[in-house]
Amino acid sequence: MTLRQQFSLLTSLLVVVLLVGNLLVTVFNGRDYFQQQLNARAYDAATSLALSMSQVDSSDEVQLTRLMDVLFDRGFFAEISFLRTDGTAIHRRARQALDVDSAPNWFKNWVALDLVAAEADVTRQWRRLGSVQVISHSDFAYRDMWAMVRAELIWFAWVLLVSLILLQLLLRWLFSPLIRVEKQALAICERDWQIQTEIPRARELRRVVLAMNKMVLKLQSIFSEQSAMTEKLREESYLDVSTGLLNRRGFDQRFEHILKRDDEHSGVLILLQLHDFADFNQREGRQAGDDVLTLLGQVLSQWRMEYPNTICGRRSGADIALYIPCADGAQADDLMQQSFSQLSMTTLSQRNELVFHMGAVFLQGQQDDPAAAFSRADAALRQAQRQPTSRSVMYRDEVVQQQEWTAGEWRQLLHQVLERGSLSLQFLPVIGNRDQHLLQFEVFSRIEWQGQMLSAARFWPMVEQHQLAARYDACVIERVLESMIGEDVASRGLRFCINLSPASVIDEQFHYQLQTLFQKYPKQAAHIALEVPEFCLQAAEHALARLALLLQPLGVVVGIDQVGTGTMAFAYLQRLQLDYVRIDGSFNRGVHLAQDHRFFIQSMVQIAHNLDLLVLAEGLEDEQDVTAIRHTGVDGLGGYYFSRPINSLEDALNWVHPAG
């Protein structure tokens, strides 16, 4: 029972007790009063009747009866009798004084007025002729008492009603701080650190509210401290201070992961070297050299705004490496030319007397060796460096010759795919760390074209180039929703996680398109999760927050993918309404050997768990890594170690983790 109900009950009880007591007093006092009055009246009537009857001839029956009738017809008496000394009698009796029933029978029986016969002697001179007995009628008394009782009941009903209403108002006023505390506590669970500004006057409540506020501040500071520490660790381990780009370790880790993983990869690796940078340093001073590197970092960061999937790192002194996803060799050429011209027009223009060379290699395939890729790019770089002026060279591989399409052919291809919806879905299981049960599926998509299956690594750069990302994302989501119809996902609480591209997230129109789409499939929508890569948050955080808010009522949740690859402070975890974070696969690769990776993941787990977020690890392929990851306390794991992407939803739903 709630406190409110208890108070209400108590009040009702109090009113009822008062009512009963009051009724008893009223009824009993009323009974006494009426009894006395009725008996006194009977006595007076008997006396006067007896006096009158003493004056007439005792044998004149008619006269005597008429005298009694006079009194009786007044209607106030129940019975008038004249008892003669010889035993004969004259009676006048009335059943009911009122036409209507004066009061319910139970009431009469309960009150039970005790009316006695008043007696007075009728005499003739000294001789007694007999006695007159008069009994008052009780109906009037019952009627009046019953009216009193009813009036009192009505009055108390009003009192009860008004006091209950007042009580509710009072309690609402009293409890409002508690409700705010409750909201505050719930907000903490939602990672929203609210401070109550309205401090209640009641001392007990004031203490609670102040304690809550204090706790909120404390939690906030714990979160901030931990985030700051982890951010610092990430910066020190993977970032280059002067350029703001990744350091060699950071770049290699990410690059290796892309190349080595079982998924297909398609992109261009560009190595950039400043010519005679040591000379430049000597000539212009170390400070000037550092300034050049800083500027170079800024230009490349701008480049990343345009191509957010680009990985940029400073591998050593004046060596910069870039990896840009692209669809085919032609696009790789384009991207190399673009980056070259952008650099030579800005920081590294001729005016600065800085010469630089670029060597690039187009990489496509699965499970490639990063060292081989570097050596080929290096070969191209050496070739470029044969000229003293800035130049870029693409490594030409005679052996592998992939089928290539022109930009026009790509556009046609993509439009046709989107119109026909001829893309196929793949489902990668993610299992719970504790119970080994299916937690969610990561959904991937591939394009079928002229009998070939193209993975996202190959076509996605083209989708972005032709600005079809939003359309493509919507198409995938619709396909997923359609395929879920008729499948039992509700009882297993599965989530289907679909990647959204940054371009889609910042497209407001796309938001409403999604809303309509999900409204069409309300049952399925409640099992969809949308995820965006962490690195795109810098540009898309506000848009993502709006999207999450828009889709929240439909049961769609939002997660962050590739956590650890961005450079943002983790405070976004608290600002956004998120459901889970997925740590980037590059942290999981070889984690059993890398203590700092483990430490990073553990910190992420703590931060995320403080905020009530799930932490998932992706891209697991090695058993030792899986064991190490399990010990970090993540909530779920996924990767080729457990299963390859499954081509049909039916098979995916029947999939069972062998060890689970």
């Binding site: 009063y33 006194a40 002697d121």
Partner: protein
């Protein structure tokens, strides 16, 4: 009227009932000893003597016949109470005094004789159904008067106990008196009203008779 009265009523009534039962059984309580002391305190030794004489008379006649009781009680009070009008004696137009007051203060009018005789006969065991307090008119004196009448049978001519005449005589011989109205000092109804009237102190019911009964109850004499 308060709640306290309500709850107090029943036990109090029962106490009263048992007390009166006890009193009538014990002739020592007909005229309580304390009355003599009270008379001595309030008035003088002679007042106390008169009270003692009353007690003696009561004890003496306790075992006599009803006729003897009537005669003795009538004689005693006619002799011991000096006639005084209420106005002279009490300074009030009409005051019904208790036997104690009448004897101790050495004076009373016709009602006081009737009351004293009625009380004494009642205590001596005379059935009150046979006794009537009768309002009469003294024809020769042209005065309001009161006598106690005794009905040997319900329909017989009563005997009149009067303070104007020494002897008890049948009513039909008393041509000097014109009966107006008689009432029974007791009866079911008055018993009931006594309890309520006395304890509730309802001012409406304080007629002269009830007022008297309350005062007598306080003196330890139940009428």
């Amino acid at each position: 009227m308060s709640l306290t009265h309500l709850w107090l009523r029943w036990p109090a009534l029962m106490l009263l009932a048992s007390a009166s039962l006890f009193l009538s059984a014990d002739k020592e309580q007909w005229v309580p000893d304390s009355l003599s002391q009270k008379a001595r305190r309030d008035y003088d030794d002679r007042a106390a003597d008169r009270i003692d004489a009353w007690r003696d008379m009561m004890h003496r006649t306790a075992n006599e016949s009803e006729q003897e009781k009537l005669a003795e009680v009538n004689r005693f009070f006619n002799k011991y109470i000096r006639f005084q009008s209420d106005e002279q004696h009490w300074g009030k137009v009409d005051y019904w005094a208790s036997p104690y007051e009448s004897l101790a203060s050495d004076g009373g009018d016709c009602e006081d004789y009737v009351i004293a005789k009625y009380y004494s006969l009642r205590q001596l065991g005379v059935d009150t159904q046979k006794l009537r307090i009768t309002y009469v008119k003294a024809i020769r004196l042209n005065q309001a008067h009161m006598v106690l009448t005794y009905f040997p049978q319900p329909d017989s001519i009563p005997l009149v106990l009067d303070n104007l005449t020494r002897a008890i005589r049948p009513a039909d011989e008393r041509t000097d008196l014109d009966p107006v109205y008689s009432f029974n000092g007791e009866g079911m109804w008055l018993e009931k009203m006594k309890g309520q009237g006395i304890l509730l102190g309802n001012p409406n019911k304080l007629d002269l008779w009830t007022d008297l009964r309350i005062r007598m109850h306080e003196l330890g004499m139940d009428l």
